[in-house]
């Protein structure tokens, strides 16, 4: 089966109000070209589930987000994501703020088609007060321990970015960490993967060890070749984070005019023009 598609076709499947899970972590290997396409399409009222970075910041700045499910939002080298902060401080977002391990548990429960998974994390903290929909569950065994029943975080769509992929939807990460990209895919009804470079299936194993082949074709519905598609987040070993560009992006949160200019130059243009503009 040939699952090759384009960012436009992927985003044409999305609807206002959907719950979208975004892979990567902070400012690391984020499917940014797909995020930029969502911005161009002007989708609204999205619920995002993310180990958040500039994916969250950009979509918040564009007014596309109604609700955010997160444990943190950070640009790593810039610890606090300024566009996310701005949206929060304006009281714009509905939020489900969780311990980052609880977020994994929610994705894992959805991936296993379970209603919840038990965890001790969250007890005693304000996670429970701030999310009154969270329930406790008692161990049915002799210990009788009270635990949090972390509900499944079911996603309409998952978006991830890999270093390599084949046309059938097998994905390969060549950097140090898969993060939770497999769980995002398994927790979603529709799964889309962008990749730095599309290769023939036999080339996958030539490019990295067996252990890098963690996204299997049954976990993916569409593959988009997107060179530098994670820009400006890092995508090792293909490229590092574009720190200078990230600083420029971050600075636009202070000033609506600067954001408008940034948006006009880098976001209201095609992906090809974006890549040309950032290379200048």
């Amino acid at each position: 089966m040939d699952k090759r598609t384009t960012a436009q076709e992927v985003v044409a499947e999305l609807r206002d109000g959907m719950t979208i899970g975004i892979g990567g972590w902070g400012s690391r290997r984020k499917p940014m070209s797909l995020v930029r396409e969502i911005l161009r399409a002007g989708l609204r009222d999205l619920t995002l589930v993310s180990y958040g970075g500039p994916d969250v910041g950009l979509l918040c700045a564009a007014g596309a987000v109604r609700k955010l499910v997160y444990g943190f939002v950070s640009l790593d080298s810039i610890p606090l994501e300024p566009h996310f902060r701005r949206a929060r401080q304006a009281g714009q977002l509905e939020v489900m703020e969780l311990d980052e391990g609880m977020l994994q548990w929610g994705l894992y429960a959805a991936a296993q088609r379970l209603p919840f998974l038990p965890t001790r994390s969250g007890l005693g903290s304000d996670v429970l007060q701030l999310n009154p929909e969270l329930r406790l569950v008692q161990s049915p065994y002799a210990d009788g321990e009270q635990l949090v029943a972390m509900p499944a975080l079911e996603l309409d769509v998952a978006l991830v970015h890999m270093n390599r992929a084949d046309a059938r939807g097998n994905g390969q990460f060549l950097g140090p960490d898969l993060y939770f990209d497999d769980l995002f895919c398994q927790a979603a009804r529709r799964r889309f993967m962008s990749c730095e470079r599309m290769v023939e299936t036999p080339e996958l194993l030539a490019g990295g060890s067996l252990h890098t082949l963690r996204i299997h074709r049954s976990m993916v519905d569409g593959v988009v070749e997107a060179p530098r598609g994670a820009h400006f987040t890092e995508c090792p070993p293909d490229y590092g984070r574009d720190e200078a560009f990230q600083r420029r992006y971050a600075a636009t949160a202070q000033d609506p005019a600067a954001w408008a200019a940034f948006r006009a130059r880098y976001l209201d243009v095609s992906e090809a023009d974006y890549q040309k503009a950032v290379a200048e």
Binding site: R120, S121, L123, F180
Partner: protein, 258 residues
């Protein structure tokens, strides 16, 4: 040289105090957040706690003790792979000691990293909960505060991320059996929670700091150990390790200026 060695910077005193936090930890993952805690963890491993485990800050467990910044000394020696998923597995198993930052910390060690002001519309949005709720319920936790003030040491934190001793007590002994607040180190002194009600207690003040200075810059009533000591000074060997091997570019001194 020897005169210079004799005078440790405040950052170096703090780094030794943080190294002391890891004493006795053995084969556990040390997860230090901040430059000074990172110096402390490396110093502990190079001296009295050789079995401590450290990452490169990304996803590798490093057998060699690399400097905080600047050129590496020799080839890196990787002893394991520790992606985030494995960090979560490991922390739930308890074999970890985290030193977290705190935007706010109260008398019982409740910590806030999330936001200042009402959660629905914060006046200052910070990082988010991160792993603090889970960390504090599963393994030993210490805190590092580079700028001791009433803004950080508050009567009540706006959001409880890391769980304090009062909240842990309410959870009961079974649920809280792995809860273990160990130390707080600030740029002024070293603290523990070894009081009958589990509230913060001043153990030692750094050289040049008076007990009164600490009390004035703490926003709640601080328990004070009967015999507040002076935080131990770095040994000449420790200073040499910090300056020559661990932090040659002086990141710790930038975090805590003298």
């Amino acid at each position: 040289m020897s005169a210079d060695l004799a005078r440790a910077a405040r950052a170096e005193v703090c780094a030794v105090a943080l190294a002391e936090c890891f004493r006795g930890d053995g084969e556990r993952l040390a997860s230090p957040f901040g430059a000074v805690p990172s110096v402390g963890a490396r110093l502990a491993r190079l001296t009295f706690e050789p079995d401590l485990m450290l990452t490169d800050g990304i996803a590798s467990l490093r057998a060699d003790t690399a400097p905080l910044s600047g050129p590496a000394r020799g080839e890196p020696v990787v002893e394991g792979w520790l992606p985030f998923r494995s960090v979560f597995d490991l922390l739930w198993s308890g074999r970890r000691h985290v030193v977290m930052a705190a935007s706010q910390l109260d008398r019982f060690g409740n910590q806030n990293l999330s936001c200042i002001g009402p959660h629905a519309k914060p006046s200052v949005q910070l990082l988010g909960m991160r792993g603090a709720p889970g960390n504090t319920l599963h393994h030993r936790t210490s805190y590092w505060v580079p700028d001791h003030s009433r803004k950080v040491f508050v009567p009540r934190v706006d959001v409880v991320c890391g769980v304090g001793n009062d909240r842990a007590r309410e959870l009961g002994p079974r649920t809280a059996r792995f809860h273990d607040l160990h130390r707080v180190v600030s740029n002024l002194g070293v603290f523990d929670f070894a009081t009958p009600d589990g509230s913060l207690r001043l153990l030692s003040v750094h050289p040049g700091v008076r007990v009164q200075d600490v009390v004035e810059r703490t926003g709640f009533e601080l328990a004070i150990a009967g015999d507040v000591a002076e935080t131990r000074a770095p040994t000449p060997a420790e200073l040499e390790l910090i300056r020559e091997v661990i932090d040659p570019e002086g990141l710790a001194r930038r975090e805590v200026p003298d």
